[in-house]
């Protein structure tokens, strides 16, 4: 990120719907309407959490937490 990088927008509902429906298709899930509503509510929580995390500028050199030891 740079100083000119625009702030990350909150993910809009229609984009979350696309993400969820895409995943449901990609994983070959059969999802009933009631499950879909609940999953959307949960995905909104995750998206807001991720938005908050990504608002922290750690720089390009930031390493993910290591979990693999060769």
């Amino acid at each position: 990120m740079t100083a000119s990088t625009p702030p990350l927008p909150r993910v809009e509902e229609r984009d979350l719907e696309r993400l969820l429906d895409g995943a449901i298709g990609a994983y070959g899930l059969g999802v009933e309407p009631a499950w879909h509503r609940e999953a959307m509510a949960n995905l909104r929580s995750v998206a807001d959490a991720a938005h908050f995390v990504m608002a922290a500028d750690l720089g390009d050199e930031a390493e993910p937490a290591p979990v693999f030891r060769p």
Partner: protein, 474 residues
């Protein structure tokens, strides 16, 4: 030899007292095991902590212990101590259900989990497997398939999750020792709600071999007990390298039980401020203040970005948990607990960039916490934002905001396990109501410090874990 002891009384005694009596020959392992099994049978209709009772195995093990003693052998540090494990631990001959309907169709496990083997190598006696939230994605202790494990101190309330059966069994005095797992708080939350001591060791300290996973980045295993010494004895018995767990960090054997009596004097202790003083009911903060006052602590340290740490833990948990269960979601969606299934479906939709950002933040937050531990040795924080909610309760109000109970009971535990810090959860009773819990948080690999403080609080009477008075069914 001392006078024979009453096995029924010993069944609700601490593990170290049982082991001392069995080693001294004042009671047999069989008598203690039979008393424990009898208490389980009497209480289970109400507590519902157990999903499997391994009576034949337990009695055979108890007889072997008694025979070994009769033959002059030195018994292990947990001689004759009944214990039980969350049903995500493999137990040879039992199906590892992990709280689910789906997994109980799998064949029985061929071998015990490493930690079960190690406790039995110390002459503890496995008496069964324990109820838990489905696939460990839970803070309530409720289970769609097996019914909820109930809080023994008030059967209408939650035991906490996901290791709810572990908390309920120890609080009810069915066993003095149980094992659970803690990904985001699943040892610390039930410890708080059931009024117990619990230990979540440093990430990578204890072997996870032959246990059903949830989130590889955060999964920890550890013990529940009614006193810090019992936690230490169990923890010491479970340490050691295990090539069957590729995620375990190789560490030297560092026994803590002999160090507990050293006390907390000289330790630099502070209360965690900021994030850890908001979104809590007043009694949760009062519990922390009660512990701080007992220790003579008036220092408060803010932990910057704890809220973001919790958010990142939330993202990683959702993504890794969903990836683990993708196949089952496709094949058997109707057989999940709906509260778990719909969170997992959402997790499959998470873009990879969100997860990588969260893992990068995890690295940065770890560095900040290590820096902070240059100034202090111990941090104190609430375990939960409230006392045990009622069974079935879906929401609570924290700081004027209505929040879901299920994902938010662990809002104070998640930022800590996010970076794998060791925590001793200590139980606090402020009044006649249900207990609360305080996290005693130490730097990585310093379980000894957390347990010394827990022991000091027990010695002061500030932290205690009485056996619940559950009404027995006649």
């Amino acid at each position: 030899m001392s006078a024979p002891l009453d096995p029924a009384a010993l069944a609700v005694a601490p593990a170290h007292a049982i082991a001392s009596a069995v080693k001294a020959g004042t009671v047999t392992a069989r008598a203690v095991t039979e008393a424990s099994l009898a208490r389980i049978a009497a209480l289970e209709p109400q507590v519902n902590a157990f999903t499997d009772i391994t009576a034949a195995r337990a009695l055979a093990k108890a007889d072997a212990i008694d025979a070994a003693r009769a033959g002059g052998a030195d018994l292990g540090r947990l001689a004759g101590v009944p214990f039980a494990v969350k049903n995500l631990f493999d137990v040879a001959g039992l199906t590892t259900r992990a709280g689910s309907k789906i997994n109980r169709e799998l064949p029985p496990a061929p071998r015990d989990a490493t930690l079960v083997e190690r406790l039995e190598a110390a002459d503890a006696v496995l008496v069964g497997a324990l109820n838990m939230g489905e696939y460990a994605y839970d803070f309530t202790g409720e289970n769609e398939h097996d019914g909820p494990s109930r809080n023994p101190h008030d059967l209408g309330h939650m035991s906490g999750g996901s290791s709810g059966g572990s908390g309920a069994a120890v609080a009810a005095g069915e066993v003095p020792l149980a094992l659970g797992s803690d990904t985001n708080g699943s040892i610390r939350v039930p410890s708080a709600l059931c009024g117990l001591f619990g230990l979540k060791p440093t990430y990578g300290r204890l072997s996870r071999a032959r246990t059903f996973p949830f989130v590889a980045s955060f999964d920890h295993l550890g013990p529940f007990a009614r006193c810090p010494l019992d936690l230490a004895l169990a923890y010491d018995a479970m340490q050691g390298e295990d090539f069957d767990d590729p995620a375990q960090t190789v560490r030297p054997y560092e026994p803590v039980a002999p160090m507990l009596a050293e006390g907390a004097g000289g330790l630099r202790i502070a209360v965690a401020g900021g994030y850890f003083r908001a979104k809590a009911m007043p009694e949760a903060l009062a519990a922390v203040d009660h512990v701080a006052a007992a220790l003579g602590v008036d220092r408060v340290i803010d932990i910057p970005d704890a809220a973001r740490a919790r958010a990142a833990a939330y993202v990683i948990t959702a993504a890794e948990g969903a990836a683990l269960h993708a196949g089952r979601l496709r094949a058997r969606p109707g057989d999940f607990d709906p509260a778990v299934r719909d969170r997992l479906i959402a997790g499959l939709a998470i873009p990879s960039g969100w997860v990588i950002a969260a893992q990068k933040f995890r690295h940065a937050f770890r560095a900040r916490m290590l820096k902070l531990f240059e100034e202090v040795d111990i941090l104190l924080a609430p375990s939960t934002p409230c006392r045990a909610p009622a069974l079935g309760q879906k929401t609570f109000v924290l700081d004027g905001e209505t929040l879901l109970v299920r994902p938010n009971l662990g809002l104070f535990t998640q930022p800590i396990s996010f970076v794998g810090l060791p925590v001793a959860a200590v139980p606090v009773w402020l009044d006649e109501g249900l207990p609360l819990g305080v996290q005693v948080i130490a730097p990585p690999w310093r379980e000894d410090l957390a347990l010394k403080v827990a022991q000091a609080l027990a010695d002061l009477g500030t932290a205690r874990a009485p056996v619940a008075s559950v009404t027995l069914i006649k």
